[in-house]
Subunit: 262 residues, 2 copies
């Protein structure tokens, strides 16, 4: 490794739209001056892969590009596989930061649990790495990330200066509007809501039925100003700090009344 690289932070970059997506390439260009950049990202689109890992199949990685302070690998696995393999087999040392995205489309509210982009960020967090996932509210493969990178630069300045509490990572969603219409960056909580499916039922040429997943997001708390969906609908960037303790502490009290006959 070149000597000057030692003073730069080592930044691991991943996503779920695949290593060739516009979002990750906008992120790479933004990050290049900031550190020694190691990209390990899925070779194809892995949207909706959540925190999935490959247990029943092995994973492969391929070096696509190596330049000064820039190393790009594709991985045949999921976003979380990419992060695990990067940390364990590809990177020269534990990264100082993990940045995931820029996702093509929102990962606000309950979408955080389906998102491969956030799966990668959460996996970094579980490994003690200050981690953040960025998403632009435009699912198009041709989305324009030029406004988003300005927002992300401001957030990364803080991340580099302050790091994050152990066990906490960030889910950042950015409205797809001109920079001068963005009202600011708001720290939020995750909106309560759900995706309601409307499966698109089709018949294959041999008469078998198959189903495409479609659906709409239902916001259970429209108007709650401390939520990420409210912030985004009102032209704010939404930052939700997240942690991965699934325990319902209220639920513990509820269960203390259960009686078992064993």
């Amino acid at each position: 490794m070149p000597k000057e690289a030692n003073n730069k932070p080592l930044i691991l970059v991943s996503n779920d739209d695949g290593v060739r997506a516009g979002g990750i390439n906008a992120l790479i260009e933004l990050l290049r001056p900031m550190g020694d950049i190691w990209v390990v990202a899925p070779e194809k689109g892995e949207s909706g892969m959540s925190h999935a890992i490959s247990i029943a199949r092995p994973v492969h990685a391929h070096l696509l590009k190596e330049e000064k302070n820039l190393h790009i690998y594709s991985c045949t696995g999921t976003p979380v596989d990419s992060v695990k393999l990067a940390i364990n087999k590809i990177l020269p040392r534990k990264p100082d930061f993990l940045v995931s995205g820029i996702n093509h489309g929102s990962n606000a509210s309950i979408s955080v649990i389906y998102s491969g982009t956030m799966g990668a960020a959460i996996e970094g967090c579980l490994n003690g790495i200050p981690s953040v996932g960025f998403s632009l509210l435009n699912p198009s493969p041709a989305a324009d990330f030029s406004v988003a990178v300005n927002i992300i630069r401001e957030i990364l300045k803080n991340l580099i200066e302050y790091k994050l509490p152990q066990g906490t990572c960030l889910n950042v969603n950015i409205p797809d509007i001109p920079l001068n219409q963005i009202k600011g960056i708001r720290t939020c909580r995750q909106t309560r809501g759900v995706w309601r499916e409307e499966y698109d039922e089709r018949t294959d040429p041999r008469g078998g039925k198959y189903y495409w997943l479609t659906g709409d997001f239902h916001n259970f708390e429209v108007g709650a100003k401390d939520t990420d969906e409210w912030a985004l609908a009102n032209n704010y960037v939404a930052i939700v700090p997240i942690e991965v303790d699934f325990t319902s502490y209220e639920g513990i009290k509820f269960l203390n009344n259960w009686i078992y006959g064993i």
Copy 2:
């Protein structure tokens, strides 16, 4: 639908080890007298699939068996796809309960986030269905579920009587020991811990490297008696009530000090 089915609860059953696994079949036998049982489960093993959904490919379902109060379908998608498709296209109405498992192997501590069995249970919960995932601490395909079903019967009696608070589901892990060695059923919180990988690196016949995921669980709080790992290590069944708010409320305070130049 036969008339008598109307008085019985409609129970949706899924898992991540696939519709032919021993664990789900032990669960089906246990549940049959309790209700109108609809099984929609992956056609093959989907362990480690977390909350993944199929976006870029359609899903298919196939009816495998239909008897009185028992309907078994395989689904080509993930555990969460199976639940979504069941609720939206296969079941005659919204189920009264969702039961996932019995998983072959532990889903305690941080494994909850990787688990497809828990992905299915959580998806039920998000849809307002009282849901629970069961796991036996034996990853063998030939595991013996005869003790586990006795435990599960006791827990289901409570679930049917008391339901669960909205937005809460259960992650139940059962030690693989004789019934008379089980000390009881303990309500717990999720242990803080992490899987540390040791990738098994191999070379394919054409000289390319590939990697199998292996690793060990590291418990960050050995000895904490309110955790699921402590309960299991001490011969208790561990029930963790879980909810899917990823927000770190402590993290919100931390971020209020960040300064943005936009």
